[in-house]
Symmetry: C2
Subunit: 231 residues, 2 copies
């Protein structure tokens, strides 16, 4: 069972659909949520909107820099076209020892292309770009690419899917996994080094393609895994 | 229920681990299997080895060209380093109207790199290379990248996973799906156009990474899909 008063988590970009859904689900799981937005007013508005949906939740809203300072674990959930700029603006806010969970997906939609296609990122993936840009000592993993915003926001929707986690240090992935698994119905799977994020990010585009065909919000599940993936 | 005497399927590269496993499973499902290999003797040997494991199965072994002529549906299951050469050699054998199911994965292992990394294929994916190289009128879809050879060959192992199918024509994908779904425990999902094969192929590398971590043979399952995916 999760302990009763967990550390807060910061979600940069929680005004966006994925970040907002993640915020709701964490709050419902008893995790205090700090909402970051480029604009402090918008962050507070988003926190109020979230609180209206999860009255028992704990929400605060700050501009990105103040939000990033408020938690040990920071989730980056922004459109790819803002990822680089956001990380540049967080250079002074993020501190060594913090854990950054990057959920950015370089969909071609960022440059007016299709959401079923990916951009080639010079570093290999959005997560690797985040790792390159994060201040030294900030640990970076990637996760949450394949969980649909619509499913997260629809609180009656059972999630029942896997979150694929990539990162270069097992301990960092485990820390992210133990947080994310507080959300009911999400199981985290260690998919290897951060470079594997090329593939986990591209699964978003694949799911968008599947969703368009079947008018659903599909998730990923790996079969054949044992229990106790993070023991 | 599958009809009682289905058309045969040809598997080019059935001496390899994936092709052999697929051959066994099809035979057990009552589908006659034509095994293709570069060398006719090796094909016959493989057919005998398969028949020893599935005595009720129907197996024939021919060199690749003769094998390709023997069925309406041809599965291409060769290492990426042989894909181009194999298709060049099949130019006279494959005929308009045939359906080619490409299962090739451009792992970096093909050039002595890691099996958790992918090669960039100029056409976008191995499947798109197959489509470019197949004779005009041969229909090309891709499938079967994420089903592990070990799970297929271990006949007691319940598969219980999805096969992600990409292709430019729904009817071609459906034809492949109805064949593949004769294998117990495999559900086929339409993942979109052939270009989406970039991602479905790269899932092999991702699963190899997961498998190495957990000492398993993972498969993919999409959650949230309705029944009757091919109705």
């Amino acid at each position: 069972m999760p302990e009763s008063s967990p550390e807060p988590v910061t979600i940069i970009g929680a005004s966006g659909a994925l970040g907002f859904g993640v915020a709701l689900r964490f709050a419902r799981a008893g995790v205090p949520v700090v909402i970051g937005s480029r604009d402090a007013g918008r962050a507070r508005e988003t926190a109020e909107r979230a609180a209206a949906l999860i009255p028992e939740g704990s929400f605060a809203g700050h501009d990105n820099a103040d939000a990033a300072r408020a938690s040990q674990i920071v989730i980056l959930s922004v459109p790819f076209r803002s990822q680089s700029e956001t990380l540049t603006n967080l250079k002074e806010a993020l501190l060594p020892g913090q854990l950054l969970i990057d959920a950015t997906v370089p969909l071609a939609a960022a440059v007016s292309g299709k959401a079923t296609r990916m951009l080639g990122v010079w570093q290999g993936s959005a997560a690797q770009q985040a790792a390159e840009m994060a201040p030294e000592g900030v640990r970076v993993v990637s996760a949450l690419h394949t969980v649909s915003a619509a499913s997260l926001t629809d609180l009656e929707h059972p999630l029942d899917q896997d979150v694929l986690i990539c990162g270069d240090a097992r301990a960092d992935k485990r820390e992210a996994a133990l947080l994310i698994e507080r959300i009911d119905g999400l199981r985290c799977v260690d998919c290897g080094r951060l470079e594997m994020s090329r593939t986990t990010e591209s699964l978003t585009a694949l799911l968008i393609s599947v969703n368009a065909r079947y008018k659903i919000h599909a998730g990923i599940r790996l079969s054949g895994l044992p229990d106790g993936l993070w023991d």
